[in-house]
Amino acid sequence: MPIIVNLDVMLAKRKMQLTELSDRMGITLSNLSILKTGKAKAIRFSSLELICEILECQPGDILEFVPEKGPKQSDGD
């Protein structure tokens, strides 16, 4: 998927652990790990809003679009 999640970069910038973010957001650590590792299929606006609020950043700081080089592949959606 050409959408890259830069949550780990923002966490490093804010010197915050994933567990702390998970506690403050009220989301389980496993769900946040899914987002961090790029396995997530979608993100709710409410979750994005919380992340941006806690990390004091913009959605663009968390999500990045990187075009794929090869021919476009469908993932079955």
Partner: protein, 209 residues
């Protein structure tokens, strides 16, 4: 959770049904096997002899008689005696007996397998987590099994007619109930596709943060 009680009751009923059906199927297969091994190859006394029976309808060339109606005390209902209906009786060790044994064996295997899949669906499902990939496969398999059952019944019908018609007058055909499980099978195949889509949506929802 709403519906949990109904789900639990159905799960227990399916479980019980599975064991009852498996036991009955086993009993029938054992009895048929015993009849095949120990039965006589000659038809002697049909009132006492253990035979395999087939419902058949004859098609005589002569004109059929007017329907015989038996009236009771009701003014708006009557019994009609069916004409040209017979029971074909054959010994267990005859070709027809072996044919009946094979059909029974296939039926028993199919019923136990189908009930087993149904039981597994209820065992692996819960209202909290209703969508599982393996259950979509099981629903599809039950659908295919039902369609195959009708196909076997239809093939059996032709085999039976070929086995019997050269030897009997008047010409008759076996009475078989073909079609119902075919439609049920098609319905289950459609449901399996819908269920599979449900599994995909559920998995996507699990990966939505």
């Amino acid at each position: 959770m709403k519906g949990q009680r109904t789900f639990d009751i159905v799960r227990v009923l399916v479980n019980v049904m599975y064991y009852v059906v498996a036991l009955l199927a086993l009993l029938v297969v054992i009895l048929k096997s015993m009849a095949l091994v120990m039965g006589s190859s000659e038809l002697t006394d049909t009132t006492r002899q253990l035979t395999v029976n087939f419902d058949v309808k004859a098609f005589p060339k002569k004109d059929t008689l007017p329907p015989q109606l038996i009236y009771g005390s009701l003014q708006n209902a009557a019994l009609e005696k069916k004409q040209d209906m017979y029971i074909l009786r054959a010994t267990s060790r005859s070709p027809l007996g072996i044919y009946s044994y094979i059909i029974t064996l296939l039926g028993a295997i199919a019923v136990v397998t189908g009930m087993g899949w149904l039981r597994k669906i209820f065992q692996d499902s819960s209202l909290k987590e209703p969508f599982r990939e393996i259950n979509a496969v099981r629903i599809r398999n039950i659908g295919l099994l039902l369609i195959a059952a009708d196909a076997v019944r239809l093939i059996g019908y032709f085999i039976f007619n070929r086995m019997t018609n050269p030897y009997f007058t008047p010409y008759f055909q076996q009475l078989v109930d073909v079609g119902n499980s075919f439609w049920m099978g098609l319905l289950l195949l459609a449901l399996a596709v819908v269920y599979r889509r449900g599994v995909e949506i559920y998995n996507e929802n699990q990966l939505t943060i």
